[in-house]
Structure formats: structure tokens, C-alpha cells
Symmetry: C2
Subunit: 198 residues, 2 copies
């Protein structure tokens, strides 16, 4: 559990999230982390390996937040609404501190590097699946409470994840974090429309 290693990952999350992968050089990243470049390459064989570690740590933070929401004692509809608040407040904080909505590290890196670094795309895919899995229990709860038809809950969770990601794209493009919760208002209705399992 190296402190240096962790500092590098945290700095990578911060810089790649707010400025993109290509626009951040290893020298600058190391300077901001307070780590020598040689040391960084002792822990990570390449810049993209550091990125993959960053994606994993970033994902875990969101997965845990979603799991906490799923385990809370709210009504399932409220839980869905809460899901959208997590990235919304992160984006609001970034906007008030730096002036712009930051987006989602998973989506940003997947779109920027997905076709160029296959391992990054796979890391992003694992990350999406992991978050989707954290959402699914809430969908199951909606079904068992009879609030939506008996749909495929995996698909339902994916729709919610897609709504969140779509909201983040709109938020970044319009520099307006409130677009995320706005997308959330259509979530239950979207689930309701899916075909029930035969």
C-alpha cells in the first residue's frame, strides 16, 4: 500500500478528468503529484497503465456510493433519483471550483482512447458493468414492488446507466450540471416502457 502510488493515482484521476488524457503530460502530472518521473515509471509501466489504475479507483468510489443508495431504506423511486444526484453534485463542485463541468472519467477515457488503447476500453467496459451491477438491485426492487413491469433487470440498470451518461454528455457540452438530474426525471418512465419478460 504505497503512498506514492496512491498519490499518483489520485492526481491522475483529477487531471485526466478535468483536462483529458492527451492534454496532460507525464511531467506535469508527476510535478503535481510531487513524485519524480522515474519513480512514477517504477510503479506504472506506462501512462496508460496509470490511467487504468485511475479508472479502477474512480469506479470503485461511484460503485460504493451507488451501493449505499441501494442499501438505504428509501422508496425505490427515490433511490433512482438519488443515483442521478451523485454525478450531479460532483459536476457542480467541479464547476464552482474550476468553472466547468468535468464529465465522467470512464466515459471521457472510453471515448478518447477506446479505439486507440484496447486495454483502456476494456477497463472502461469493466467499470461500466460494475456500476451497472450496483444499480440493478434498485431495479429489482421496483419490479418486486410492482411499480414497473417485470422487465429484465440487467437491461433496466443499463438504461439508467445510459441516462446518467447521456446527462453527463449534455452537462459537459452545455456546461450545466443540472442536465444530469434532468435526464433522471425520465428514468422510471423509460423502465416502464420496456417489454416485460415473456
Amino acid at each position: 500500500m504505497s503512498e506514492t502510488r496512491e498519490k499518483l493515482i489520485d492526481t491522475a484521476i483529477d487531471l485526466f478528468l478535468t483536462r483529458g488524457y492527451g492534454a496532460v503530460g507525464t511531467a506535469e502530472l508527476c510535478r503535481q503529484a510531487g513524485v519524480n518521473k522515474g519513480t512514477a515509471y517504477h510503479f506504472f509501466p506506462s501512462k496508460s497503465d496509470l490511467l487504468i489504475a485511475a479508472i479502477e479507483k474512480y469506479t470503485e468510489k461511484f460503485r460504493a456510493a451507488f451501493e449505499r443508495i441501494a442499501a438505504s431504506d428509501r422508496a425505490p423511486e427515490d433511490k433512482v433519483r438519488e443515483l442521478f444526484k451523485v454525478p450531479t453534485s460532483a459536476n457542480k463542485k467541479c464547476k464552482s471550483e474550476h468553472g466547468f463541468s468535468q464529465g465522467c472519467l470512464i466515459a471521457n477515457m472510453s471515448l478518447e482512447l477506446g479505439s486507440v488503447e484496447p486495454e483502456v476500453r476494456l477497463a472502461a467496459q469493466r467499470a461500466l458493468k460494475s456500476i451497472q451491477a450496483a444499480i440493478e438491485p434498485i431495479v429489482r426492487e421496483l419490479v418486486s414492488a410492482g411499480r414497473i413491469p417485470d422487465i429484465d433487470t440487467r437491461r433496466g440498470a443499463e438504461i439508467i446507466l445510459g441516462l446518467i451518461q447521456g446527462g453527463i454528455v449534455l452537462a459537459k457540452g452545455n456546461n450545466d450540471p443540472s442536465k444530469i438530474v434532468q435526464m433522471g426525471r425520465g428514468a422510471i418512465g423509460a423502465l416502464r416502457e420496456l417489454e416485460p419478460t415473456s
Copy 2:
């Protein structure tokens, strides 16, 4: 109407879309366009200016396709479904040709450069608004046909755009273009859930 200029823009659309902005150098771009680098800088003062021109041309193509769907004589629900097919087939074509889902140039560039090049973010914002405006008549049609409540049609068009973008993020991350139409299945339901205008 310079042919060289157009060739540069087309090559920029192609390369930035499939490989990202940072990963494509001006030298490579010019080589593929068959244009000398000095010539490229005669038409565009910087790489990012070329990108902005590329975003505008790319957007116009999609806007026109959406407008054509809106003007067709299908049922409004079918039109909504058709909207999702446009990026889906583009992504399927890219995947069969290059092996990966390409994403959307507007979203890709907005996420990669939105915080680093303000003019690119503004170009992306104009692009999103332009496409949203092409979607809105379909939502109006849904309302006037009584298929959905009397919602704010601008908001409704934005939800659909968000669903498309969310689907593209999932498509790229999972390298599976069918995720886009999958998101489309929840579209009408999402609109139905929005609060009617008082």
C-alpha cells in the same frame, strides 16, 4: 469553396472521430488528406480551428438526417425510433470496417477538450442545440397527436438527445452499437413521465 479545405475537414472528421483529437497529429492528418502541412495552416490558423470546422460539418450531416426523418410521413413513434437508427448504423459501419464503435464527434470532442479549449466546447454546445432543434418537431407531433402529455417540447427533445448520447457512450464502452437503439426503447416512456406544462 476550396476542394483542399473540404478534404482537410473530411479527413479531420474521420480521424478525430475514430482515434480522438490528441492521438492524431497534424502531420499524419495532412498526409492522409494529401495536403501539405503549410497549406493546411493557410486555411486553418490552428488544429483546433480545423476541429471546429469539422464539428460543424459533421453536425450538419446529422441535423439534416434528423430533419428528413421529422419531415417523413411515418407515425411520430416510428420517427423517434428512426432517430436512434442513424447513429446506430454509423457505428455499425465503423465497427465492421475498423473493429470498433466510433462514438459521436460532438460528444467525443466536448468531453476530451471541453475544459481545455473553450471555443471547442462552445462549438459542441451549438452543435447539440442544433440537433435538439431538429428533434423538437417530432416531440411536438407526439404532443399534438395526444400520444404523450403536453410537456415542454424543448425539454423533451433534450431528453431524446441525451438518450442517444448515453447510448453512444454505452456503445463505445461495450464496443456494441446496438446499445444505442436499446436506449431508444425507453424514449417515449421517458417523455410520458415528464411533468405536463401547468
